[in-house]
Symmetry: C2
């Protein structure tokens, strides 16, 4: 930040309607950078890329203002970071590596250029974090802010699908759960905690990490099925069990609860948050039971705990002594009327 | 349409909030169909694909209600068709072939399930038309309807970029221009024409064709630069000239005007519509002057006219005897305040 930064910042308080779609595209293209010989990124009808491998992974996620984030508490950079992180998390849950992303942005006429620039800041920070190259995109006017990323990745080994769990596999999860829901409660002003716990919980909501290296190591160790925890542990476990056509016994007491939730327990039940909160972007996976110690040791090198929360079985699905399906309806479903 | 179709149709008049995000995703996944061995389409964290080639093309376009379409005159199927067609057109303008698409959809709670199903009808119809496979996507709540497609294609030969025009090349365009703008004027009720002309003009606006086979043939014939006419002839020509760092002389009388615009001339200047109307999705390209007859003959086999509208040159840019830049500001710019 040099002496000119104040004048620069003031200049950026113009609205996107003042510089137009093409003005904004030029700003974005300039920051995407120069493509290597043989590739063409922004600035043509389509990006030209060398294929990163023979088996591609392809995913997209859409974030909508007032549904997936609130401009009252999320900055442009937060939104940009999260839009890329949630896509990287999808590639992580296949055991793959992300490569090339396109981005789409719908902006109101009154949106400030500095908000649009902030979104790109967040996208580029996350892209740098996980070695993703932004190669193009589209910008349109919109009544509410919408942001999406579509991400191409590569599977170096066989991708880990949701459908490979066999009865008798251990069910495990990385990290701790419920923190993103706790961060949301804090941002909404429903609760208060001391500063360092607040910082960690809010970061879980606004700046999620994707468990990318963890996913690759779990794939190499032979994880039989994997999914990222975006809708909530129960909801995502049901997706995995449905795809694998198998039952389970999960021990609720074994589910790793984010310890920062404890001081919040009068406004948010920590177990409930861990089971259904969603957006933690931890990896939920199944694995041969005797490989769990190896998985735990390998991910410990990354500072990431692995917790065995139960096992798959033929037939019924239990959470403790209750049918898992009884808990299904409390999952994270954007569209269902609440 | 069997005897049960009325009951079926009535049942479909429920709102998307009644069936929820996952209910809608299941409906979509069921219609995407089964993936071949080794691939996985909908139903996992990311789609798993065999790479279609060593050089990929990657593009995306976002359509927003009340900006890019109006639900007062566009059906769900129209919107779905157009969202895919405009992406295919981008791949066509590189001389490539489209392969795999992901789709994102933001829907209001009050959106009817039949509208969402209609969008998928249109997407699948366009996908079938151009041999594209839908392999996944995302659905969210939103205040206005938003729809995007991200499309992976392949370049079998060297992609035709915007940047390859050399001074002395012929500047050519496929088909006729201005029809999409004429269709929009009719849909908005600004004008009336006889039924068959109306049908053709409205189709140019709501059901655009991508010049896919034309693009591949022009690439094979050595087109030096190419772009699709989405922003309007002048705007897209400027994009091409900027990328190629070259000037031009374009003869306005040579620009092929959609003949259906003639009866509309009291409300819409046909030349103005052809120069600046946008969304015609014809191909604008440059080519060695002595190859124009071959291009004309090759595309005549597809029923598509090729018109030489001028030539590139060193230095200045002219439209007739006026600087081309004087016409720049009337291009199609979604964000610029009008």
């Amino acid at each position: 930040m040099g002496p000119g930064s104040v004048g620069f910042a003031l200049k950026e308080r113009q609205k996107v309607s003042n510089i137009g779609e093409f003005g904004l595209i030029e700003r974005f293209a300039a920051r995407i950078g120069a493509s290597p010989k043989g590739e063409t990124w922004a600035g043509d009808d389509a990006a030209v890329l060398r294929s990163p491998g023979s088996t591609l992974l392809y995913t997209t996620d859409l974030l909508v203002e007032a549904v997936d984030f609130d401009m009252g508490y999320a900055s442009g950079a937060d939104i940009g970071w999260k839009a890329l992180a949630v896509n990287v998390s999808d590639v992580a849950a296949m055991g793959g590596r992300p490569h090339h992303a396109v981005v789409g942005l719908g902006l109101g006429d009154d949106c400030l250029v500095e908000t649009a620039d902030g979104i790109l800041d967040g996208l580029l920070a996350a892209a740098s974090r996980w070695d993703v190259q932004l190669v193009g995109g589209d910008i349109s006017r919109a009544s509410a802010l919408v942001l999406y990323v579509a991400l191409i990745g590569v599977a170096e080994a066989e991708p880990v699908r949701r459908s490979g769990a066999r009865p008798g596999d251990a069910i495990c999860v990385t990290g701790a759960l419920g923190g993103a829901a706790g961060g949301l409660a804090l941002l909404r002003g429903d609760a208060a905690v001391e500063a360092s716990a607040r910082r960690r919980l809010v970061a879980r909501q606004l700046r999620p990490e994707a468990r990318l290296e963890e996913g690759r190591r779990l794939a190499a160790l032979g994880a039989t099925a994997m999914i990222d925890v975006s809708d909530g542990l129960i909801g995502d476990l049901l997706h995995l069990l449905d795809a694998s056509e198998t039952g389970c016994v999960v021990v609720p007491e074994e589910v790793p609860v984010d310890p920062d939730l404890i001081p919040l327990r009068e406004v948010l039940d920590p177990i409930e948050a861990a089971l259904t909160g969603g957006e933690d972007f931890e990896l939920l996976f199944t694995l041969a039971d005797d490989t769990v110690p190896q998985a735990r040791a390998s991910l410990a090198e990354l500072g990431t705990p692995v917790t065995r929360i139960g096992a798959t079985q033929e037939g019924s699905r239990f959470l403790g002594d209750r049918p898992l399906s009884a808990a299904k309806e409390v999952g994270w479903d954007h569209l269902r009327a609440r």
